[in-house]
Symmetry: C2
Subunit: 451 residues, 2 copies
């Protein structure tokens, strides 16, 4: 007999079915038992006319039985299958579970982060935790679908790179046969190159940052959603694309996962048809006027500034998100396009929503000679950037720009999670790769680590 999904039992009253799943919970009353069985489609109550010993929660079983309508007084309004149950003929154990380290039945998984991660195979089964990754899968899908519909081509950027070009100190070194290689900090160079091939491209790619700090917002390995587009008429094309994309993500998440948003007691950020766009210097001025807190002249927003400018955007424009633009040329990477009318500022933007950064992007320099000159200015050798990067510009590159979203970060932001690790299946940081490194790691000599 073929297995049916639990959700399909609703149409099978008085019929024989075979269902299979995890024992979500088990209650024995004398010689009979009630199982709440869980599969990917939902939960159903199973009545078993026998005592079930040693069947711990999360054990995997298969049930053959008959779907029965419950009496009205026994309806369970909290379950979509609450008006039916299965009367089991046969219970087959497919995999016995050991005792769980904590209770995963409660609406909230109230364990510390280290415990949650030490027992990740258990914590991920907790419904509210699992839902985080359903939202995350949707975000990735919307990202791709939105861009495919706009003629973007998907590509795969390599992550093993030959030089630590984007910033030497925070890069992981790899022993690559007799050579030293590095893990890419982003697919930035490759997505720009790809503009010279396909005009509009995107990639969902792993990126690595050797940041020697353990904060709530940093991972050493993360998934980047990167897009880049050529033949822009103006850099506005870039932030308007990012704006439409993020609104599409919000809309689909709100439509498809209303129940999960309710469970997390959050709503997607409120947007306006026109998202406000303010220069960094203007934003600092606005904040000064509103709060007397003076961050004017700073090269970036601070967290309190990000929160305040979002309050302003909501009050003045009915939008909980706002683009901050024109970050100083000195503080943005050397390939960022300066504003021709104000060369100390760049055509760059951050999308801030509900007080935190969601997207970063901007126009890039597409002129080969300017790039060579900028590389020299920072004291590096253009030869180190020729293959694969500068070569693409030497053969003709359209005006272009792009943006990037951190997948775990955007998931964290949408669900209002305290720590980005909650939005990461198996987070990596300085102290942990699955298990705690202090417990399982192969320590390398400090001399070697410094190389």
């Amino acid at each position: 007999m073929k297995r049916s999904l639990i959700s399909a039992c609703l149409d099978q009253v008085d019929k024989k079915v075979k269902v299979a799943g995890w024992v979500n919970s088990l209650r024995s009353h004398g010689q009979v038992s009630f199982i709440d069985l869980r599969d990917r489609s939902g939960l159903i109550q199973v009545f078993v006319p026998q005592k079930l010993n040693n069947l711990k929660n999360e054990s995997v079983i298969s049930i053959t039985g008959t779907v029965k309508a419950r009496q009205a007084k026994n309806y369970n309004p909290s379950l979509p299958t609450g008006k039916i149950e299965i009367l089991a003929d046969k219970v087959e154990v497919l995999s016995l579970a050991s005792d769980l380290p904590f209770d995963i039945q409660k609406p909230d998984l109230s364990v510390s982060l280290p415990v949650m991660l030490d027992y990740r195979a258990a914590s991920l089964r907790h419904a509210k935790t699992r839902h985080i990754f359903e939202v995350q899968a949707t975000i990735t899908q919307v990202f791709r679908q939105f861009l495919l519909e706009r003629d973007f081509t998907e590509f795969h950027a390599p992550t093993l790179v030959a030089t630590a070009t984007e910033g030497g100190s925070q890069v992981f070194g790899v022993d690559y046969f007799d050579y030293r290689a590095f893990l890419a900090q982003s697919p930035q160079f490759y997505k720009q190159i790809m503009v010279s091939i396909f005009e509009r491209v995107f990639t969902v790619s792993h990126a690595y940052r050797a940041e020697p700090s353990v904060t709530t917002r940093h991972l050493t390995e993360y998934v980047g959603l990167d897009a880049e587009m050529g033949f822009i008429d103006s850099w506005k094309d870039v932030y308007l694309m990012a704006d439409s994309l993020v609104k599409a993500i919000f809309k689909t998440v709100a439509d498809r996962h209303a129940d999960i948003l309710a469970e997390y007691q959050v709503a997607v950020p409120k947007t306006a048809s026109v998202t406000p766009v303010v220069k960094l210097s203007e934003a600092q001025e606005i904040i000064f006027k509103r709060t007397k807190r003076d961050i004017r002249g700073q090269p970036d927003m601070d967290p309190e500034g990000e929160r305040e400018i979002c309050r302003w955007a909501e009050e003045k424009h009915g939008s909980q998100m706002v683009f901050i633009t024109h970050f100083p040329t000195k503080k943005r990477p050397w390939y960022t396009a300066p504003d021709p009318s104000s060369p100390d500022e760049t055509l760059s933007f951050d999308l801030i929503a509900c007080g935190v950064e969601w997207i970063t992007g901007g126009q890039r320099i597409n002129n080969y000679k300017t790039l060579v000159s900028n590389i020299k200015k920072m004291g590096a050798n253009p030869k180190d950037f020729y293959i694969p990067y500068l070569q693409a510009f030497e053969y003709g590159m359209p005006p272009e720009g792009g943006f990037c979203l951190g997948l775990e970060r955007i998931t964290q932001n949408i669900l209002g999670l305290e720590n980005v690790r909650q939005a990461t299946l198996y987070p990596r940081d300085m102290e942990r790769i699955d298990a705690r490194l202090s417990q399982i790691g192969h320590k390398i000599s400090s001399k070697k680590a410094k190389k």
Copy 2:
């Protein structure tokens, strides 16, 4: 004025347009010039009533002008836009190109592989080369869409791992702060764990193999298309899913890219409604009977055997693809499920088509104690596998199995490319990360390399 795509000019006869793209070719006749302009949508001829000096091929330009119908005698049947051209009012140069290292106009890019890779930003612009990656993008899309429609959940597996669990010799080491980490050779463990959370999962993930050999079929970094499914009624569910998936890929590639398949003078493999399934030992017997070549008792097929069994499958079953199953338990990984009726053979399969392997997969062991015992049998310590892997089995794991396709390999196979590097944007091997390592690499001491 907003840029129009070249393909949209067909509806714009006698209207003003602005188009932008690359100079695919330029012919000057006295004081007038003809440009073949290329953008992501196609090519169009542009007539410029002036001489254009110093405008090399691949330069990026913007043209403002009027779309004109050509006289019938000037139709170009080889172009979709061959009945129109643009009479340019204004030519704006957006990016000047240098001389290309080779001619990218010819139908075939006849340069050696090292030259193709040394000048990858140029070779990727060659139309036939670019098309490889259009097919590749389609393969990835079909893989995901097919599985999403069948209730699979997408997840992202980490690639930094703490132990070289799958095979110590071919793994890259990473300096991870004060510890030693490794690059994952596959998302195998994580996709199995995810079965315990979502039942059916897939991931498009980078994987790394430190194979110290330079062949036409191996890359050190590749993209794996991995799927895994729980609650299988039998391992047949797994290979039948792989079978339907690969047929869906063939169908979409054939429908969407008929022109590219014609350009490569290939067809997707011929399939039958029921793909033949033969055990390894049966396949070897068939080969012996047909050819008198005796590979009976060998633990795997050899390349000639793979070709011969495909010839047999086509002759007997009208299918150019065939599943080879029941590889020896000794030769498959320790987590592979043995056949209960013949424990020296595994419930594993390879899909062979047109003489080469396309997919590998099988049922896995879902019993915690059996896994622990198998780990001990190979002389390893189960503790090293507990987090993250064994933990998921300790808490209840359904019967499950899965399969994997190498994205570059399947692209190579479909287009009949000689070398897998042709199907890789920026291939990595022992000798090259973009540039040749002997030219740019940071050589590490042999002492360190041996660690």
